[in-house]
Symmetry: C4
Amino acid sequence: MFSLQTEIKILEKVKLKNPVLIEGLPGIGNVGRVAAGYLVSELKMKKFAELYSNHFLPLVILHDASVAQLLKCEFYYYRSKSRDIIILTGDTQSISPEGHYEICEKILEFSEKLGVKEIITLGGFAEGRQIDEPRVIGAVNDKSLIKKYEKYGIDFGKDHPVGTIVGASGLLLGLGRLRGIDGACLMGETYGLPVMTDPKAADRVIHVITKILGIKVDLSKLEKIIKEMEGKMKQTEKIHKRILEQIPKQSKGEDVRYIG
Amino acid sequence: MFSLQTEIKILEKVKLKNPVLIEGLPGIGNVGRVAAGYLVSELKMKKFAELYSNHFLPLVILHDASVAQLLKCEFYYYRSKSRDIIILTGDTQSISPEGHYEICEKILEFSEKLGVKEIITLGGFAEGRQIDEPRVIGAVNDKSLIKKYEKYGIDFGKDHPVGTIVGASGLLLGLGRLRGIDGACLMGETYGLPVMTDPKAADRVIHVITKILGIKVDLSKLEKIIKEMEGKMKQTEKIHKRILEQIPKQSKGEDVRYIG
Amino acid sequence: MFSLQTEIKILEKVKLKNPVLIEGLPGIGNVGRVAAGYLVSELKMKKFAELYSNHFLPLVILHDASVAQLLKCEFYYYRSKSRDIIILTGDTQSISPEGHYEICEKILEFSEKLGVKEIITLGGFAEGRQIDEPRVIGAVNDKSLIKKYEKYGIDFGKDHPVGTIVGASGLLLGLGRLRGIDGACLMGETYGLPVMTDPKAADRVIHVITKILGIKVDLSKLEKIIKEMEGKMKQTEKIHKRILEQIPKQSKGEDVRYIG
Amino acid sequence: MFSLQTEIKILEKVKLKNPVLIEGLPGIGNVGRVAAGYLVSELKMKKFAELYSNHFLPLVILHDASVAQLLKCEFYYYRSKSRDIIILTGDTQSISPEGHYEICEKILEFSEKLGVKEIITLGGFAEGRQIDEPRVIGAVNDKSLIKKYEKYGIDFGKDHPVGTIVGASGLLLGLGRLRGIDGACLMGETYGLPVMTDPKAADRVIHVITKILGIKVDLSKLEKIIKEMEGKMKQTEKIHKRILEQIPKQSKGEDVRYIG
């Protein structure tokens, strides 16, 4: 009955070579989104698809003060020597629990068609305290994958307090497993204020993801690019804040915390 | 499984000449609804369709104290020399986020069948302070459209604080774009008390929309017509208030505010 | 995908003669439910169908301390000389707005198949103050019907404060109109405490409905029957209270109030 | 449109002999879950199916600190001499009312295919006070079943304050009845703190269920096994707590209370 539920609009039909999907959507410390946005910008990636959903807030954002656009997620691609890269980033995540599942299923279905067999999701992990030397904490959707990723300086140890991963960064791993897609989540440790971008945590995550992808990006521009993204993020940060507020709060020191 | 989800009941089959759709549903300052209602009344427009939805509050309104009617939106038409006009107004908007998307999709699908290629949505913009000389702030769903509308005294500048447009006035633009329908939103500046009709902001919006449509209406009757509409609006103003209360509140001075 | 959404389970296939549907579900003052229950009991009506829905609270009620039963609505019939009577009563109403629409549509679809062309819904109207001589206030779903009912001592005047009718008692009228089914709502004036049964208001409503139906019932037993129903109602009164609490509260003296 | 709504993933195709389904999902005092988990562990039962749903919280749990898994329910089987046993346990229950109905329908549909004609659900009953000698209170979905179960020391009397059973333990009985499946619920009396496991109440429930099933388990290990389960439960106990918090609270001494 709906014409729009969750739909992916293809802007360019692409054939990709053994592509890996990197997800970085809004969340704690904007770590995932900033890291994904930095890669898109540095690698001059090309947008080839957009995802719309009636599980997003029912509003349009004004770009350049007067151009109204639906909330959306965006798929970019980059052709590299060894294998191609897809980046999924965007304005928002689902505002309903069911929507999270539906949107992630849609992303996975689309990814499968593109030949994706590996997904890496990026996020922040809220420590609830000042972090001087942020670690990148890792999770995988199959035990055997730890060996593959741990060489990149990712902490898979038991001495971290991560208990759950909420939203797309988590569900893409869990639902991906059901489809036989390998998945890892990289979480940069951050204070955990929802709408305050943490460049240091993002820097650490970018550092690790580029090593995994075998690409080089100029991290010196990160602060500058964060500045450029800020305008756009400012518009939606209140939206993310609201969404994050829907997730039950966890007090400091507990073993279950939100990861963007 | 449902017989009613969102349904449009056709009262009269009409063939329209290059019709433009004007939307004015309840919202901040009742600006959109009053402006739309004024046009319906002044142009003696004829109702030709009604929209019902299970995303409206589950109640009936009593008209004339004892005649129960479902909440609904209404489509009116007017045949003009150059092009025909459709007005969409009504009792309410969706009470759920998903419903907003669904109802707007239904409206767009119906509009497309009627040959609509341009939509103008009317609303108020809550400044959170007394406005002596209300501007009409504009948004479009394609940058190229600014040129077309800015000659009518609409403010497309960057010196206004509008960041998002919530509800039908926004989604019809965003979703319309996906269907290739041009769209503009006219927002009359108002204080922003949800259920207090602001005739001055409505007057400014009517002023602009009639110039765009190339029609003349007698604005001197606005106060009188607002008075006549008041009875009907009083019945539903509590409903709108409740709906507006569901939209997260924005404090004064912020760059994201609700627009009806 | 669901096997249960809203389903009607037929217990006995019946052919009815020009049947009228009387609805009395839980609500303010339990007026509708008590009135309907009294008719079922006094006329020794026979149950022929049950309605289940996943829009009811997800629980079972224990009857006789240990027999678990789903929440449900029930259809009873009575064969009378002139025309047959169907009574719809039950444990609960929908807990979601969409569910109200869905359930009422299901009831109407079922009623149409049974040949129902007239519906009378029973409820209480919360005056928010002690009522010594409760009126029966009426609403219809077509202006022309007032003449038919006003002879029965129903107040269709403009001197009452009813503005909306929430829930099944209202939606059956509004949605029924779309199917060409005539409908009236009888509302007994009551204080308006949700879970306190008001026998006086129920008595007034029974008085009017039996006159309309042309049947005689012994109202002297009302107090006794209310006592008998009390046990069953006590179990579910907390449920109704919770449902009623979901409906936005209206303060005294306002022109929009809840009607069960 | 969804690929995932509520889905059962078969791990092993099994043919079972007149199987009885025992349900023990998270709830008050963790009574049902602990009792079910104990049987799974003691009888060395084999998992043969998993249930996933978008009505669960949108997150993954990290097992062994870094292996992400969707929330799920699990089906185990045990071949016994007289009849086979299926145990349904898991991480969570639905977070939405509609989801409870949907998931229970899915479980029943699956159970029917396996030949299940009897279901026993396990839970705790929150007395709201310290219980020294916890009873096992029973409910059935057909009066005639009381005789069958009461010999096992289950209290079916009227001197207990249970009025409703919320969630899967209740709905499997109510919805099962519609499919002609016999059902009983065993509730161990407990204080009723949602996330504090009550081994004494679980012990009583295990005692009764093993008598019904005609099997012997070594209850001396219960404390040890609870200890082993604790790690896993700790991770999800906050989730359950949140879900339980959604169920309207009942004060002490009332006749309607939550049962897990």
